[in-house]
C-alpha cells in the first residue's frame, strides 16, 4: 500500500471514508462532549415519548377508538429516535447502505405483519361460526 505513508501515518483514522458503520458516532462529531449531548437528547426524547405512551390512556385526552393509532404513532416515533440518536442511522451519504438495508428490513416487516393480519382477519371473516357448522352437518 503506497498510501500508508500519508502524513497521518498508517494508523490514522479513516476520516474521509465513504461509508459509515452503523452505531458509529459520526466522524465529524468525534468530540466526546458532542457525542454525549447527542445521547442525552435521544434519552430525553425517548423518555418523553415513553411517558406519553404510558400516560395517554390514563388522561383520556385522545378519543378512545383512536387510542391504538396514537400509541402506534408514538412507538414508531420512538423507534426513529432510537435509530437516529443511539444507532446513529442518518440520511447522510455515508449512511446510504445502512438506510437501504433498514428500508428493506422495514419492507419485509410490513409485508409479514400486515399480510398475516390481513389474511387471518379474512379467514376469520369467511369462517362460519361453530353453531352454523353444526347446523350444516345435520
Amino acid at each position: 500500500m503506497t498510501n500508508n505513508d500519508t502524513p497521518l501515518g498508517p494508523n490514522a483514522a479513516p476520516r474521509l471514508d465513504l461509508d459509515h458503520a452503523p452505531g458509529e458516532v459520526g466522524a465529524l462529531d468525534e468530540n466526546p462532549r458532542a457525542a454525549v449531548i447527542g445521547y442525552i437528547v435521544g434519552l430525553a426524547l425517548a423518555i418523553g415519548l415513553t411517558a406519553g405512551s404510558f400516560l395517554l390512556p390514563l388522561t383520556g385526552l385522545v378519543y378512545a377508538p383512536a387510542l391504538p393509532v396514537a400509541l402506534v404513532v408514538m412507538a414508531i416515533a420512538q423507534m426513529g429516535v432510537h435509530l437516529v440518536f443511539f444507532l446513529h442511522i442518518t440520511t447522510g451519504p455515508d449512511n446510504a447502505n445502512n438506510v437501504l438495508a433498514l428500508a428493506f428490513g422495514v419492507l419485509i416487516v410490513i409485508l409479514l405483519m400486515g399480510g398475516s393480519l390481513w389474511i387471518m382477519a379474512n379467514l376469520n371473516h369467511d369462517m362460519p361460526a361453530a353453531a352454523q357448522v353444526i347446523q350444516m352437518q345435520r
Binding site: A13, G23, M113
Partner: protein, 216 residues
C-alpha cells in the same frame, strides 16, 4: 495519533486506506470496522424480521383467550413502566460505554458497562418475576393461544437480553484483559448495536403487547 481517533484496522487487513482526498476518489474496499458493523446490522435486521413474525402471531392470537384471562386483566402497567425505564437507561449507559471505548478510557468504559449490566439484569429480574406471577396464577403459556403467543414473544426478547448480558460481561473481561485492540473495538461496536436494537424491539413490545393489550 491522537487518543480520540478511530481504530487503526485499515493497514492490517490489506484493505484500502483512505486518509486523503486522493484516496477517496479511488474508492476500494471499506475498512474492516465498517464491513463488520454493516454485516452485524444486516444480522440485526434479520433478527427484527424474526421478531415481526412473533409479533404477527401475537396480534393474530391476542383475542384467543379460550375463556381464560385477557391482557387487560393480567398486565401490571406500573411494572412494565419500570422495566421500560431500566432498559432505556441501560441503552443510554451502553452509549456512554461506546464513547468511553472511542476515547480509549478503560475506566469510563467499565463503569458504563457495569451500569448497563445492572439495569439490564434488573429488567430481566422484573420480567422473570412477572412470568412467575402469571404462571402461579394459572396464566402460564399452556392456558390459551393468547398466553402462548405472549410468552413466546416476550420470552424471546428476554432471551435476547440474557444473551446480551453474557456478551456484555465477555466484552468487559476482554477489554480488561486485552485492552482496546481493533478486534475488541469491533466487538464492542457490534455489542452496542445489539443492545440498542433490543431496546427498539422493547418499544414495540410494550406498545403492542402491554399498552394496546390493556387499552383494548
Amino acid at each position: 495519533m491522537s487518543s480520540s481517533t478511530y481504530p487503526a484496522d485499515l493497514s492490517q487487513d490489506g484493505h484500502g486506506v483512505s486518509n486523503g482526498i486522493a484516496v477517496r476518489s479511488r474508492g476500494g474496499p471499506a475498512s474492516k470496522r465498517i464491513i463488520v458493523g454493516y454485516g452485524f446490522w444486516i444480522f440485526l435486521l434479520s433478527d427484527i424480521v424474526m421478531f415481526s413474525a412473533f409479533f404477527a402471531v401475537y396480534a393474530v392470537l391476542s383475542g384467543a383467550t379460550a375463556g381464560g384471562p385477557s391482557g387487560r386483566q393480567l398486565f401490571d402497567l406500573r411494572n412494565v413502566a419500570v422495566e421500560t425505564g431500566c432498559l432505556l437507561l441501560s441503552s443510554f449507559a451502553c452509549g456512554m460505554a461506546s464513547i468511553g471505548a472511542m476515547q480509549r478510557s478503560l475506566k469510563t468504559f467499565q463503569i458504563a458497562m457495569a451500569v448497563t449490566f445492572v439495569l439490564g439484569a434488573l429488567f430481566l429480574a422484573l420480567e422473570l418475576q412477572e412470568f412467575a406471577g402469571l404462571i402461579a396464577r394459572g396464566a402460564g403459556p399452556r392456558r390459551s393461544a393468547f398466553l402462548s403467543a405472549f410468552f413466546s414473544l416476550v420470552g424471546c426478547h428476554g432471551l435476547h437480553v440474557t444473551v446480551g448480558l453474557l456478551w456484555l460481561l465477555t466484552m468487559m473481561a476482554q477489554a480488561w484483559a486485552k485492552g482496546f485492540r481493533d478486534d475488541i473495538l469491533r466487538r464492542i461496536l457490534c455489542f452496542s448495536l445489539f443492545w440498542h436494537a433490543l431496546d427498539i424491539i422493547w418499544v414495540a413490545v410494550f406498545t403492542v403487547v402491554y399498552l394496546l393489550g390493556a387499552a383494548t
